[in-house]
Symmetry: C2
Subunit: 315 residues, 2 copies
């Protein structure tokens, strides 16, 4: 498979610049003290739709030819990618067709509908989602935009690390959480181009550790019944993502659910910002000393801030 | 009583500049749509100790003569002012003596102790707090720094509005919550100096409406058994604060507990930042259309972000 280069990420950056926020980078002396490092947090929780996903979706939508664009885009997702794709499509003035499981949370259905997408509901199984998506694509001629196993999506996600490094680099280490691998693969390409000496380290919940197992066995091994509070990281690595990760990533570490909640609470309490559990996974690894960052400058991507405030894990 | 001028606020700004954060101003298109106005939120939840209180405490501490400073500062408080005064004193390298009720939350005791203050516990009554403070002041010679009814504290609090107007003004309306009146009186002085045409409007919980009653009756009327989730606003107006508010403030509106929680949730969900209930009171007033801001530019001070994540009001 053809993998993106940093030139592709730079082109994505120019393409989405009129639409995406250049999110701020935040620091916290208290958390620096606790980890013994200098941490720089890229706040994608402040991105449009509340997650980095908007970058990839916008790049995919604005990369389409006028003929392709006229027929719209489609995907199956119940999460941030669906909202991101719906908003990007609305910005280009084209239709978005989203396949969602009928049992998706009301708040997510509303968000996607609010961006003007056409929603098709299906049974809550992967098979039903995929067959429904095939049908929708065939009927409409819309281009399918996969949430992570997609060249243009990866390029869009890589723009977050590019901005982080430009605004606050250089770094000794750059960290991102890993689920499907869209954010991680884009981050790795951007980091290795701009900072060849920096290490790229991913963090993953132990309860959804397919990237960890795949990386160290050098064989793509999808998750079976993954379970984690970090619901953005339940998905298994894509093939294109895995290829890039094998080439560019230096290590993957896993963390417990308990540490994820602890790290999330720390960021809420000390930094006064709302992040979703997935965003807390890299800091959880640092609190557990799973990565040597002593005295080092570390860039960390906070992936998003969408979660149900009525169901928080704090006591 | 001598009231501060804008020159005093400018002097306070220069005095605390090396120590305080120049906090960011944030905007939110979704909330603008809901209120019909252009809102600019000054994020004092990102200030040192998580609240605007650090500005006033730092100005008071750094205004002391060397002789006064050597003997330290003292106050009675169980909230943000205690932490703010303790940190400001530590920055100047002088002692801070804090009188706290024995039943104050552990997390607050820890925070104040963590900044190196000497804590004296007392019975949880105002009489016990005041008599204990008198004893501590007599024994140590420390200067008492009242949390709001204090010239230098008011000047420090006024620096938030000065920054907000410089960074994002001009405004048609500037809003702040009102409790003891330190933030509101400083905000009013700064606003009327920089934007003589702007209206200054305060928002107050209906369950602790002493400022509202005092303002419209032109008589200082303290609260009796105030009750509100906005725990930073339980205190009654100070005399110096009331004098300034009568001169400079254009109106005070009250809001229900329900609307405070709704506004707080809206800021958490849409802006992805953590604010304490007191900070949500001005937006609650706008959601309820208590102030005419249609199509107007409105500066709002978000007072702080300290609260117990284990006891949130969201369902």
């Amino acid at each position: 498979m053809k993998t993106p280069t940093f030139n592709d990420i730079e082109a994505a950056y120019e393409r989405i610049r009129p639409f995406a926020h250049r999110t701020p980078v935040m620091t916290c002396q208290a958390i620096n003290k606790m980890t013994g490092a200098n941490l720089f947090f890229k706040c994608e929780n402040f991105q449009k739709v509340g997650a980095f996903k908007f970058r990839g979706a916008a790049n995919a939508v604005f990369s389409l030819s006028p003929e392709e664009a006229a027929k719209g885009v489609c995907t199956h997702s119940s999460g941030n990618h669906a909202a991101a794709l719906a908003l990007a499509a609305r910005m280009r003035g084209i239709p978005a067709y989203i396949v969602m499981p009928a049992n998706a949370p009301e708040i997510k259905k509303k968000a996607v509908a609010g961006y003007g997408a056409v929603i098709t509901f299906c049974e809550p199984t992967l098979a039903a989602r995929e067959s429904t998506l095939q049908r929708v694509a065939a009927e409409t001629g819309a281009t399918e935009i996969h949430p992570y196993n997609n060249f243009n999506v990866i390029c869009g996600q890589g723009t977050a690390a590019k901005e982080l490094i430009e605004d606050s680099g250089p770094f000794d280490v750059v960290m991102a959480p890993v689920g499907g691998g869209g954010l991680l693969s884009g981050t790795a390409i951007a980091t290795k181009a701009l900072l060849p000496e920096a290490r790229v380290i991913a963090a993953e919940p132990a309860g959804a550790d397919d990237a960890f197992r795949s990386f160290y066995s050098q064989t793509l091994m999808p998750s079976v019944n993954p379970k984690t509070i970090a619901d953005g990281l339940l998905t298994s690595l894509g093939a294109l993502n895995f290829q890039i990760i094998q080439e560019k990533v230096d290590g993957i570490v896993t963390v417990s659910e308990e540490k994820i909640v602890e790290a999330m609470r720390l960021i809420w309490e000390r930094m006064k910002i709302i992040i979703e559990p997935s965003s807390a996974v890299p800091l959880a690894a640092l609190l557990k000393r799973k990565v040597d960052v002593d005295g080092k400058r570390v860039g960390i991507i906070l992936s998003g801030g969408n979660l149900d405030l009525g169901k928080l894990p704090f006591k």
